[in-house]
Amino acid sequence: MKPQLPDGLVAIVKRECATCVMVDPLFANIATSGTPLTVYTQDDPTFPTSVSAIHDADLSVSWHYDIETVPTLLRIENGEEVDRTLGLSKDAWQKFTGVTDLGADLPVMRPGCGSLSVDPNLEDELRVRFTSSTLHSRHVELASAEDEFESMFTRGWTDGLPVIPPTPERVLRMLTGTTRNPQDVVAIAPPNLVELTVEKIAINAVMAGALPEYLPWIITALEAVCNDEFNMHGVLATTMPVGPVIICNGPGTKAIGMNSGVNVFGQGNRANLTIGRAVQLTIRNVGGGKPGEVDRATHGNPGKLSFCFAEDEAGSPFGTLAQERGIAPQQNAVTVFAGEGPRCVVDQAARTPEQLTNSFAACLRATHHPKSVLSFDAILVVSPDHSRVYAEAGWDREKILSELYARLNIPGTELVKGALDMAEGLPAKFADRIVPKFKAGGILLAHAGGGAGLFTSIIGGWANGTMGSTPVTRPVLS
């Protein structure tokens, strides 16, 4: 609980700080001037020497009043803080106290020192001391001889890789990444349809190895998958090898160090890997979606551990996926897509946009099955080397997509059952029709990858539309 401070002036100091030692004599002057003064000392209860002080031994006053610098001088009226000054500003101290010649022999300005309550070595401990009541999750106490990593495997909390132990210290630190209340319900998590709180997400984010600044992205991605449109329940339950593919946009991707370049889908980047992993761990642990239970995938794919990347916005000649999907420029956003593993399109010879588009269309045609039409969407992740061909020819997103769709109108004779000596296919009545491979909007265009390599990637989707899953884009809020 926040301690009540007495009306008048309140100073917070520590002996270890040279500025505090410098202002020590001023407290006696203030006290004799008639202004009520209370001094709290963080470290040495015998400091300051000019007046007696209250020892803020557990740093409760310093923590609850967000003291970052000592000395801090607060003005309290009717129990409420109305003003504060940090360090020594002689002018401010004279105005606060009404003592016009206060500290006449002192420098005009002297910065303070760091408050003990923000000491990196103490901050986690203090956060637990003063805010752990905001956490509602059950405490699991391990035996002293128990290996915490092994016990988390045993409890079924992991995705098959080790996880970071979610101690109260780590979870509270994770929660500093969001302004949301730990008990806010973000979504109803499938498959068990349970209320998903910010706290439970933070716990799983810690386990995934995420940093606090990733938390808003993780929360947004979970909001984006836990709804009827994306249909995370079906994405889990299907026998097909799909999971949530998370594409991040906006300046925040750079701020949190996401990878949009070399090895963009691969290993090596903490933000990319742990954001995706946190989403999947949350679905597993809170939603209850586990392989072999509700997750019935025949093969699955390695991306079900984590498949998350940032779009290379600066290098894109055709804008961004998020903006295409209605997000304002400079707004951080997450797009989720029920997708399988990426496959590579190799075209090292195309020098015209038409040639390149022909290659893309031919490879997109084979997604899932050359005779499968309209049932699945796909993301085409164009590399910088390939996008240069479009940039040089002046093709924008609209032009690229319209040329792709035009090349993916397929004669029914190639699609009907039995054609190409394959049993798979459409009923015979489609033989005299032209059928598009993708529904309108079924190709999502993104830009990412390293600066060298005439390769592009296709991420095939899952049953699309109301029958299956629709991609969802959401702005990332703090």
């Binding site: 999750s137 132990p165 109260p168 716990i203 009827d228 249909n231 642990n285 809170v286 029958m467």
Partner: protein, 93 residues
């Protein structure tokens, strides 16, 4: 080694325990619900079951999920529970 305290990452719920109903000795006079999850050819399987149940003296009612990729809507589950004595859910392909 100190004993660490971990926060439970799960939803901390326990599944409700329900007794399984006794299998009926005969379906004669019972209402059998056939729930088609709308996977391909599920109807073939369920229609054949209908023939067999009708021959055994059961009344058969058909139900359909809007899509096999999502759980049956609560209203549909309620409908089945009040109209049928037993239910069969087809999982065909």
């Amino acid at each position: 080694m100190s004993a660490p305290i971990l926060l439970d990452p799960t939803n901390e719920s326990r599944p409700a325990q329900r007794e399984q109903l006794t299998r009926p000795a005969s379906v004669k006079g019972l209402t059998v619900g056939l729930l088609d999850i709308v996977k391909a050819r599920g109807d073939v399987y369920l229609n054949r079951l209908e023939e067999l149940f009708v021959a055994e003296g059961a009344k058969v009612l058909h139900f359909r999920k809007p899509t096999f990729t999502k759980p049956a809507p609560p209203d549909l589950r309620h409908e089945i529970s009040i109209q049928c004595n037993v239910v069969i859910e087809a999982l065909a392909d």
